[in-house]
Symmetry: C2
Amino acid sequence: MNKEIIVGIDIGGTTTKFGLVDHQGNVIFQSSVNTQNPDFREFLNDLEEAIWAGINSVDPTLKIRGIGVGAPNASYYTGTIEQAVNLPWKGVPIVKYMQEDFNVPVVATNDANAAAMGEAIYGHAKKMNDFVVITLGTGLGSGIVTNGKLVHGHQGFAAELGHVTVNPNGRQCGCGRKGCLETYVSATGIKRTIFKLLADYTSDSELRDISFNDLSTKMITEIAERGDFVAQKSFEYTGKILGQKLADTVAHLDPEAIFILGGLSQAGKHIFEPTIRHMEANLMPIYKNKVNVLPSGLGNQTAPILGASSLIVDYFKQNEF
Amino acid sequence: MNKEIIVGIDIGGTTTKFGLVDHQGNVIFQSSVNTQNPDFREFLNDLEEAIWAGINSVDPTLKIRGIGVGAPNASYYTGTIEQAVNLPWKGVPIVKYMQEDFNVPVVATNDANAAAMGEAIYGHAKKMNDFVVITLGTGLGSGIVTNGKLVHGHQGFAAELGHVTVNPNGRQCGCGRKGCLETYVSATGIKRTIFKLLADYTSDSELRDISFNDLSTKMITEIAERGDFVAQKSFEYTGKILGQKLADTVAHLDPEAIFILGGLSQAGKHIFEPTIRHMEANLMPIYKNKVNVLPSGLGNQTAPILGASSLIVDYFKQNEF
């Protein structure tokens, strides 16, 4: 029998990464194509050609077992990428098209759900039935697993924790509301906090020489490590708000662990320590010291591809092949 | 074959109600025993005698298929009633004892989870895979169903929505923290709100003649219907806080419906209307006008017994008998 692989695809605003994943969870080939093509069918042709080129370069006899797709606002139920702020298309039936082109099972869901499934299949959640994944990128994404299964909800839009409310009169959010969690806790959120702190305090700070658009979470982390008051305070503030809201999430789900992934999680103790401290301070006694807040068990580079490919592992598990 | 029934037991602080439920979900016999016996084994003997007496009075050939128990702080995983504020025992292994005494399947869980399962088996959630139940009694209890299954969480303590935080510096809560949802939204919570409003405003109100201990939600409802400013404002305030926090619950779970049960729900439009209005105002666009907020599909009297008995229906479903 020919060797089987799963194709994992992670569609991002700028580039779409994909990889070929073997039975052991190794990414044996990895590449990317440009996402910014307004013609979705053309984009998909480019992606499919790149997948075939990858297969041919590794071993032309490889058999595709299935294709998993993680994309912002992709609906698990309809297989369609709905209206995503950073993508050039809307309402595109990616699952239908790829099933026709490859004649294998194709499963799509939003990127944070894919990350949660990746953690369950390849990462630190292998033996967990109840856990939550938080991805801190441009926004805040999340995936929820209960009773060993991803929670999609009635419409397929469960786990939008970026849009729980911190303050109904708070910061303007891209969703049209105010005070959503992701306006405080995300790569963009912490930048907004930095600029608020620079306004509120008079302290000297390296951060006063950097524009909003130039500032990155990596820079904030490095500046915090040099002892900068504003940078350090921005992590404390971000962790406080995340910790308070995670306590509410625990009261809903009583999870075994909460994984924090994505760019801002790379700040390590700067973000984990205040988050855990404030979460614990807001937990009712039965939950205290019971919920682990952890980094991902997957490498930062391959995590999105493994997450997407794990959707297919899960698909075959559920259909008991 | 002898006719089979399920015994549904609802253990409350003062009385323990039980009923015999037939295959069609009819409560064919119903009675109660006193809960306030510090000797748990004695209490259980009284209860079991009353169950046998009930069976003998209806039809001595009835066969017990299983026993479902709803009780505050009962753990689904351990079958034990842990430390409940209003019960005279702690850490009592009710499932073990009743299994030994009756030699049939016995399942226990907290009363709000039992209510959720009752709604799924006998009520308005028969075809729903994703919904939430909120019980407004002395406190605020809740049950969560995702993917057609009750969410118990890692420790068995999921769905403690009474203890999400409204305000970290808010009202003192029985759990030892401050500002928990149930300190605002529950039979006790709305009484606290009434007394705050009587302090904050100078308006005349019938409520100024009633002591805290004498006041009931039924009285608040009647007084609101006579146009009393303070009574009406107390519902608006309660609904605002519940609606805001339910919007966060929707962002977690994307449920098809939220059922509101228990004494305070009997206030009807007084509590439902502001709750729905404020929930909608706090939902992100994808959820707006998609989540039904509904009263229970079960009668108020039999709901707890049907809820408890439904645990056994669910048990046999899951074990595919």
